[in-house]
């Protein structure tokens, strides 16, 4: 097992879902930092955006229409 095999196998993960999870994590981190700084509006924005992005990621990979 070489590094290239590992990376090739990783590509079987849905890239769109991976991108959405990364966006969600960035949004959540933004929300947590804003909450820490008592910027409640920005915190709410970041947390809601993170939750929506996570929901989108799970909908993209979710069970249903395997063909």
């Amino acid at each position: 097992m070489c590094g290239a095999d590992i990376v090739r196998e990783m590509h079987f993960a849905d890239p769109l879902a991976v991108a959405l999870v990364v966006v969600a994590s960035a949004s959540l981190i933004f929300g947590i930092i804003s909450l820490d700084r008592a910027e409640d509006a920005a915190a709410a924005y970041g947390l809601v955006a993170g939750a929506v992005a996570l929901r989108a990621a799970t909908r993209v990979v979710g069970p249903g229409d395997r063909v």
Binding site: D5, F12, V21, S25, L35, V48, V52
Partner: protein
């Protein structure tokens, strides 16, 4: 199966008993709540002895369950909990309100909740899972990569939000951070499970159609964020 193969230790963990699976959250709860009190400067010897005995009871439960079944697991569970209670209550500073660290208390509560859950849940059998035993080695490495990425994201989420001076806000930030970690880890688990399903993946258009609601909401939020940022 090589030593470095993640499936080897995953397989051993999956084949373990309930006490083995509960030992990790138990050790975490012990480390967060019992150990700091037992080894504080003014702590008596009985607290230290009880804390050490609790660890032995926790990990001894693995062997006890293999030998005596559920009765061994139950005995280990109660011995661990009672010895932890003895160690914690023997430490004179543990119950002083001024010494109570809210964040550590919250993390400790989470640890004990996880220990309670994993102790009550039945052990997962090797046969009950998806196709871990039959998956190719490269696919297992892919799973390990996704798990590693999930852990990196969780560590990243836990590493922010430690600067607030207000106690109430610190608790709120940690609760939100833990909830975020659970949500991200759940999504990454879905990603990993998806790779083990049979059949060909649906087209990109079909998947986008399925997720159009959250994607549209996300696009609206992004546009609103940009507009608000420019407007300010």
């Amino acid at each position: 199966m090589s030593v470095g193969d993640p499936a080897s230790w995953l397989g051993r963990l999956r084949a373990s008993n309930a006490a083995a699976q509960a030992s990790i959250p138990g050790a975490y709860a012990w480390a967060v709540t019992v150990a700091p009190g037992a080894w504080s400067p003014s702590s008596p010897a009985v607290a230290k002895v009880a804390a050490l005995a609790a660890v032995i009871a926790l990990f001894g439960g693995i062997a006890a369950e293999r030998r005596w079944g559920a009765r061994g697991h139950t005995a280990s569970f109660w011995l661990f909990v009672l010895l932890c209670a003895l160690a914690w209550s023997s430490s004179p500073l543990s119950l002083v309100p001024a010494r109570f660290d809210a964040v550590r208390g919250l993390l400790g509560m989470s640890g004990w909740a996880l220990y309670a859950y994993s102790s009550a849940a039945p052990a997962s059998s090797r046969e009950s899972g998806p196709e871990v035993g039959d998956a190719s080695r490269s696919r297992r490495w892919g799973d390990a990569g996704i798990l590693g990425a999930a852990l990196a994201l969780v560590i990243l989420l836990q590493s922010v939000g430690w600067r607030t001076s207000s106690l109430e806000r610190a608790i709120l930030v940690r609760v939100v951070a833990i909830a975020s970690c659970l949500a991200v880890f759940g999504a990454m688990t879905d990603l990993a499970n998806e790779r083990h399903r049979d059949g060909r993946r649906a087209s990109l258009r079909a998947r986008l159609r399925r997720a159009w609601g959250p994607l549209a909401a996300l696009a609206l939020l992004a546009v609103a964020g940009v507009v608000l940022h420019v407007w300010r």
